[in-house]
Symmetry: none
Subunit: 192 residues, 4 copies
């Protein structure tokens, strides 16, 4: 008997449906989404939701974890294929594009940084680590200033990616990301 038996096919389907429905809701901006509604739009009853997730918070946490997992795979690949400076630039833009296609990056970043909630501690830490790695590689190469840390940059990105409501926000978001990137290179000589 395995430590944690694989779920029955229909159970797994429901679990996925729940995560997907929650993702739709939370990342779509409705951070107060009701469990009842999430369950309903997943096509199951609340009881089923609670069978899969101990509490409402646990469900949210899982949604965010998955989202962050996806994003945190990128930096390693980028660093393998580009000079650090370029890898950083691309990752920053990746976050922005990701947010643009409604993949919910905006809410993820925003939630991660705008609250002190321990619920997001892990997600916060992992995103900051991803950025730290890029910053450190750039600093080591002398092309990015070395006095900016991952957590700090993460905060700024939260502001950028939180720009949901605006008309033409992708343009704006790209722009200010470039601004930040310029700032990061600007002081390279001075602050490294």
């Amino acid at each position: 008997m395995p430590a944690s038996r694989p779920l029955r096919a229909d159970a797994r389907r429901n679990r996925e449906a729940l995560l997907s429905a929650a993702r739709q809701a939370f990342l779509g901006g409705d951070t107060d989404a009701h469990v009842e509604d999430i369950a309903r739009s997943a096509g199951v009853a609340v009881g089923t939701l609670y069978r899969h997730f101990e509490t409402r918070e646990a469900l949210i946490e899982e949604v965010y974890r998955k989202e962050v997992d996806d994003l945190c795979a990128a930096p390693a690949e980028l660093l393998a294929q580009h000079p650090p400076e370029e890898a950083l630039r691309r990752f920053l833009l990746l976050l922005v594009e990701h947010a643009a296609v409604g993949k919910g990056m905006s809410v993820v970043l925003e939630s991660i940084m705008a609250t002190d909630s321990p619920v997001f501690d892990e997600a916060r830490a992992r995103m900051a680590d991803a950025l730290s790695r890029l910053l450190e590689a750039g600093a080591a190469a002398g092309t990015v200033r070395g006095d900016v840390t991952g957590p700090t940059l993460l905060r700024a990105l939260g502001g950028i990616c939180g720009m949901r409501a605006t008309e033409g926000w992708l343009t704006e978001a790209r722009q200010i990301t470039a601004l930040l990137f310029d700032g990061l290179r600007h002081g390279a000589a001075r602050a490294a």
Copy 2:
């Protein structure tokens, strides 16, 4: 009955007490503060709160309006006494310092930008205007890039000022503000 009769002295006192209590609560970070609690800490009953403010949201809105009023006076003065670039730099730092001394700038900016709520529409617009004026002056002088707008910059500042919970807050905030400022100058020649 005049559009807005002057309030009796005690009524005005209550109104001020309520705004002050709400400010304490909201800007102190408890954005879910209960009306009952706010009323109590203002030394009045809920009924009085509702006599002065239509709804809970109206009270919040008023708190933010006042806060933003204070801040929006600064750009004009700064522009009168400094070259545009320096005025912009000082205003950005002013926001950060303001947030630093617990005057609630962080929550103001964060709330203004992180939500789509029409409640903050006006506050958002006025802060963006203040920044626009500074950016335009800098662009006119050729020392600041001209392709960044007030609303866009406001978003980025929201990210910075939302850094409440972290250790070493002020240092990080100053740093990233400098980063942004560098970015704003960096492209001056190119983008103006």
Copy 3:
């Protein structure tokens, strides 16, 4: 301003109505009575119930406290007017009669003794004290055995007064009370 301002007339009325409705429900035997139902039968909404009583348990506790208050006044009076043995006999019968007229003594005693819940700790202690006083007086007079304590006797009474469901239970209750009383005297010489 008094330490605890007297309640407004209508508020007190509601409070009484709630206690009365709860009494009806709990002492009537429905120990799982729903707050919603209690509120409704008191003619108020749940919110009102919760304004007067912090939790469901707090309400129950208050009901029991009042009930026990009433009963615990009796022993002192009885001892003042009768020899201890007779006072004891009368108090035992008083409990039984009290239960008989639907005044809820049965559930009170039962709840007090059949659960370990700390909710009833105080009520339990006071009832036991009342019995202790009577037993001790009787023991001192040499007419009641001295090796039975209040808490012990309280348990036995719980069994007797719990006889709700039976046909003709008052007769039975009186009978077994007499039995106990006989037992208490029987060993007087031996155990005092």
Copy 4:
């Protein structure tokens, strides 16, 4: 299909395991034990529980029936070997000792008497019968008063055996049982 086909060996094993687990739970004092938990501690799933017992109540009922079965065998034996008065005394003490060793007599008696639930009707009746037989034998012999019935005595015993939580449990229980017994003999001459 015979009225009650003999169960397959493994089915019977499950049934026994369920009864045993339920016994552990209910008689151990957790009268609110969840079916899921009972099933788990019996090493089966809920579905299996429901295959053997129509409802949660049916399971409880069965547990109590078995417990009472065991106890109701005693009076006949005791009467065969002792004078009625002594048989009664021994049976009363047997109940107490049984409760003392955690065999759950306390909960059985308490549940049987403290509720009106028809679930326990049969158990109640059989226990009362057992006591009636002893009382009648004693009355016939003239050593026990004849005006106390089984149901009545059963109630009193419920109170005694409900004394679970107290320090010094067994001592108190023995004592009050003796008290009752004394009361039963006390009036023998008078009431027979």
